[in-house]
């Protein structure tokens, strides 16, 4: 089903696709636990990580995934400042394609850029994040993490907290979570929530959801990336939206905290919570998301290319 298919958005993934990806991720999870972390399934295949926007985590995750499948990986990074026009991105794509590659993993700072790229290339492309639009592999790994921990998806309550204006993670997560029957509440101040999200279940303070949620999903708050700053201050953010120790301790048994990373310590999650040990510390599943991310990406690459 996924063979030779591009993955641009969560919308294009059917239930069967997702089940298949998860089933394969289970087996690849085991590969990563081995002493020799490599299987020869994609030997001779060339994958290019084409990143027009800086990334360390996602790029590394894709790179490790490809290498564990024995594919050859080439990293091409170019900050948007050096690739000023989308047009040059097209030329770059064409150049790389001329070198006969089998799959492109692409990230770009503009919404829709990966979809645009699809018109110019004849190999599958995986969207590793395009502007504010989508980040489908992040949602897949988020959903996989939830499934691994809770062993179900229906009837779970997730609260997604933070900046929705700039978040591609939120857009793909909401789409995928809702389709899977997860109950989603968005928690955000008005200026960080596009008007059209108001049709969803909306709360403005994390205290309104902290006790009843199975999953608190913290989005990255980027004060520095806002073109125009409408949110007043970090102190205000801490008061209404940050996850601090008091709030963590109010969470119900078995509930978890997720974050797409990297965390802005002291903004969305306090230092104290980040470094907390013991039982409350087990709620923080950020590291598990990263581990599962590799397995999910291995599964996806394998299913598309094998």
């Amino acid at each position: 089903m996924l063979r030779k298919k591009s993955v641009i958005d969560t919308d294009s993934l059917s239930q069967e696709d997702i089940d298949l990806i998860f089933a394969n991720a289970d087996s690849f999870l085991e590969v990563s636990e081995r002493d020799v972390k490599k299987v020869p399934v994609l030997r001779g295949k060339t994958i290019v990580n084409l990143f027009f926007e800086p990334s360390t985590r996602t790029k590394t995750s894709f790179e490790i995934a490809a290498k564990r499948l024995s594919a050859d990986v080439i990293n091409f990074s170019s900050s948007t400042s050096s690739v000023k026009k989308g047009e040059s991105a097209i030329d770059t794509l064409k150049t790389i394609l001329s070198m006969k590659v089998d799959l492109i993993v692409m990230r770009h700072s503009d919404s829709g850029a990966v979809k645009m790229a699809q018109h110019f290339i004849n190999v599958p492309v995986i969207n590793a994040g395009d502007g504010k639009h989508q980040h489908p592999t992040q949602s897949l790994l988020d959903l996989y993490t939830i499934k691994k921990i809770f062993n179900k998806l229906e009837e779970l309550k997730v609260a997604i907290v933070g900046d929705f204006i700039d978040s591609r993670v939120a857009r793909s997560d909401i789409d995928l979570f809702e389709r899977m029957g997860i109950d989603v509440t968005v928690v955000s101040p008005t200026m960080l929530l596009p008007e059209d999200f108001s049709k969803m279940k909306v709360k403005h303070c994390i205290d309104d959801v902290i006790e009843e949620s199975d999953i608190i999903y913290m989005l990255r708050m980027q004060f520095e990336r806002q073109d125009r700053k409408f949110y007043p201050s970090i102190m205000e953010y801490n008061r209404f939206l940050s996850l601090n120790k008091d709030r963590l301790l109010k969470m119900k048994p078995g509930s978890i905290v997720m974050h797409p990373g990297p965390v802005n310590r002291g903004i969305e999650i306090t230092d104290e919570v980040m470094d907390i040990g013991g039982e409350p510390g087990e709620k923080i599943t950020i590291d598990r998301q990263v581990t599962y991310g590799v397995a999910i990406r291995m599964a996806l690459l394998y299913l598309i290319l094998s």
Binding site: E87, S111, D130, Q134, R171, D227
Partner: protein, 449 residues
């Protein structure tokens, strides 16, 4: 453009044209009747049921049986890009595209380089367009360099031949300045064509702020951006008694506000583009940059309100906002792409398909919106087929249907939002400035020499 030249009749020797048996439309009376039209030396000589000009070698006869005959269209919002952006369009290529679209008069916008904000620039446009296939009516800038700081020499510009004023592409942010521009324009009884956009509201925006822009992660432009400025300018016009024309309406509220303003006696008119009537913001789904326009293509609710505005007579005209752009400006991400779509060549077929076929608006009513009505707003003598007038006539095959292809455009730029659409109604021949300025291949069989 060789294509067009080939399509033109070698009619240098032919002085007279006889159009036989066409369905002649009178958009002002709202009637249509089968008649012959005889054009002698470029001037309409007579219109009556049967005209026989036997033995006149100097006459070309077109059998227009089954075709609709309309006064040539007037497009009151066109970017010809000359001077300064001749790589996108020139007065020549733009006027050739116009006559292919059945348009015999265009009002060209002043956001050129240099801007049309001085007499010389107006004279340049008029001089340059003298021998072009369609008439060009310069719109001059309201403020120097369209910067919104100081009023242009409006008196001198009117004397040079400007038919209207506009800072199209911008709104004058300074309300006091706008008020004084309005008061001054009254002295010359000349319309102000207003692009309505609150820059603070729209800053950084790429698409209509709504469901699709939200889901697709495209920065939104709120309807408030248009509405706030329109509300302000209605108040300024009510006070100043100026003649204002709001161009490219896009929102539901703007129709409502203008309707009320008209009822209250404000001297206000407005137009809408074919693309705002044709599409809604679901077109964004593909991230196709041809749909990146300003004001943005808005929601279905807005589109319906615009159509309603036409049916109720609130909207006075349809204008293309023909905005040519190079491939390099459009062949990029949605964020980096330029705003605008071309529109001259698809003006008629787009609105005919949507308004006449789909919405059952009569053909004379539609023609009124693209010919006599914009002519009246601009104060130019056009939009009627009457004896004694220079012939500006468009012949339409209302039964034809075709899929719009990129290759078929003769404008220098191909950034049309209508590429791929199946449109009804085709211009088969355009007589402009008394001469045959465009003819489609199919008319060859209809010509009796």
């Amino acid at each position: 453009m060789g294509d067009i030249k080939d399509n033109n009749l070698k009619d240098d020797n032919v002085k007279n044209i006889l159009i036989k048996s066409g369905k002649v439309i009178d958009p002002v009376k709202g009637t249509e009747s089968v008649s012959d039209i005889y054009i002698k030396d470029g001037i309409i000589l007579e219109i009556r049921e049967k005209i026989d000009i036997s033995g006149n070698d100097n006459t070309i006869t077109i059998n227009a049986d089954g075709y609709a005959i309309s006064p040539g269209f007037v497009d009151m919002h066109v970017h010809l890009r000359e001077p300064g952006f001749e790589d996108e369009e020139t007065i020549e290529s733009g006027t050739l595209a116009a006559v292919k679209g059945g348009i015999t008069g265009v009002a060209c916008m002043p956001n050129t380089r240099p801007a049309i904000d001085n007499q010389s620039a107006v004279r340049y446009i008029l001089e340059k367009s003298k021998n072009m296939p369609c008439s060009v009516f310069p719109v001059a800038a309201m403020t120097a360099g369209l910067k919104g700081i100081s009023i242009t020499e409006m008196g001198l510009l009117v004397e040079a031949g400007a038919v209207a004023f506009s800072d199209d592409g911008n709104s004058v942010e300074d309300s006091k300045l706008m008020y004084e521009i309005m008061r001054y324009s009254r002295q010359f009884d000349i319309p102000l064509i207003l692009h309505e956009e609150d820059n603070f509201m729209s800053k950084g925006g790429l698409a209509h702020e709504g469901y699709y822009s939200t889901v697709l992660g495209l920065e939104g432009i709120s309807s408030l951006s248009d509405d706030l400025m329109i509300a302000r300018d209605i108040m300024l016009a009510a006070k100043s008694k100026a003649r204002i024309h709001i161009t490219h309406l896009s929102t539901k509220n703007s129709v409502k506000m203008i309707k009320r303003a008209k009822e209250e006696g404000v001297n206000i008119t407005c137009d809408v583009t074919p693309h705002h009537l044709f599409f809604n913001d679901s077109c964004l789904k593909t991230f196709n940059t041809s749909f990146k326009v300003k004001p943005p293509i808005r929601s279905e609710e807005d589109r319906q309100a615009l159509i309603e505005g036409i049916k109720e007579g609130v909207i006075d005209a349809i204008a293309s906002d023909h905005a040519p752009h190079l491939d390099t400006e459009k062949n990029t991400t949605f964020k980096l792409a330029s705003f605008g779509t071309t529109g001259l060549e698809t003006l008629f077929s787009a609105v005919f398909s949507k308004l006449c076929i789909k919405e059952k608006i009569s053909l004379p009513a539609l023609i009124k919106l693209i010919s006599p009505s914009p002519a009246a707003i601009l104060g130019i003598d056009a939009g009627r087929i009457e004896p004694g007038k220079v012939a500006c006539i468009t012949i339409i095959d209302t039964g034809a249907e075709e899929v719009i292809k990129k290759e078929s455009f003769i404008s220098k730029s191909k950034n049309s939002a209508f590429i791929g659409q199946k449109l009804k109604g085709k211009i088969v021949c355009t007589i402009s400035k008394g001469k045959i300025a465009y003819r489609d291949k199919c008319i060859k069989e209809r010509v009796i020499s």
